[in-house]
Symmetry: C2
Amino acid sequence: MSGSGGPTALMKEALNANAQAVLEAVRSSHNHPTALEIYEAVRKVRPRIGVASVYRILHSLAQQGLIRELGRSDEACRYDGHIERHDHAICTTCGALLDLPVDVRLSEEALRMAAQAAGIELHSHEVRLYGQCAACRQKAQAEREQARQIAPDPGAAEAE
Amino acid sequence: MSGSGGPTALMKEALNANAQAVLEAVRSSHNHPTALEIYEAVRKVRPRIGVASVYRILHSLAQQGLIRELGRSDEACRYDGHIERHDHAICTTCGALLDLPVDVRLSEEALRMAAQAAGIELHSHEVRLYGQCAACRQKAQAEREQARQIAPDPGAAEAE
DNA sequence: CCTAATAATGATAATCATTATCAATATGCT
DNA sequence: AGCATATTGATAATGATTATCATTATTAGG
């Protein structure tokens, strides 16, 4: 327990060479690469890296907000019997997919312009809200309280 | 060639017992069930049905617009280096995922209300446009022309 | 510098959703 | 009935992702 203010495992901000290579690969690609495509790209720079590390790093980067993941597939495809157009809320913690009971209205004009800009023939659209659902918020809250009882304020003396 | 106006394989509108059971299962579920959950539910009514049929039927129903599928996972998860909020266009034919170069503006007010209605703590949002991308439109067009040359206007005498 | 403790890594196996295959069955027609 | 054709479902194959675990790198202490 040295007094050097040693960051043991909590300070993850600094990216190592592998993580930097992955981040670079994602940033320099202008389509939306899959994990395996990123793996192939990174391989050229860091030939010894394995898929597992790429996945680990991608998750870590996404969690730090340095990249974004589109279309989680750790969940299976889901089906919806409500075919009238409607929007969704997606819990970023548990992945729950909720119907929005109210429409997020947006202008036909803006939609048309956006579709034209992308070059697609617009058939439908959807608004997705991302955030933490009520259940996950409660659970996180409970865990925070419990953690406080076990290890009360580690590093409370830090500037904050 | 009987003159009974016989629908050989093109008239798929009428759903058979399996398809009806699947549709019923999707409609009666108020969460967003996965294919396997639907399979389990349908099994209770039609015990001899297999997973392959459930998947086939789900795709067919979705194609007919009777149900909707959320979060295709035939494609892998994709990553995006642009972390500033932006919207996407998704090709319903080839699954391509395109960044929208323009924002589809919508009111903060409406977003907040929708998030509250769903009970989530809003972190971010995204508009998704669904349609056919330029490449797929051209390909479909070409195929249509080719089909015309092979079988010119079958049933052109129909009322239309 | 050498060694022990610990964390990070990568090869490989396991898992899970989905799709393909193909023999068996059902359906329609004469 | 008897044949042609379409549908079905059991099972294997595929592909993405995750878990496991031995190996390797890193650090601290002597």
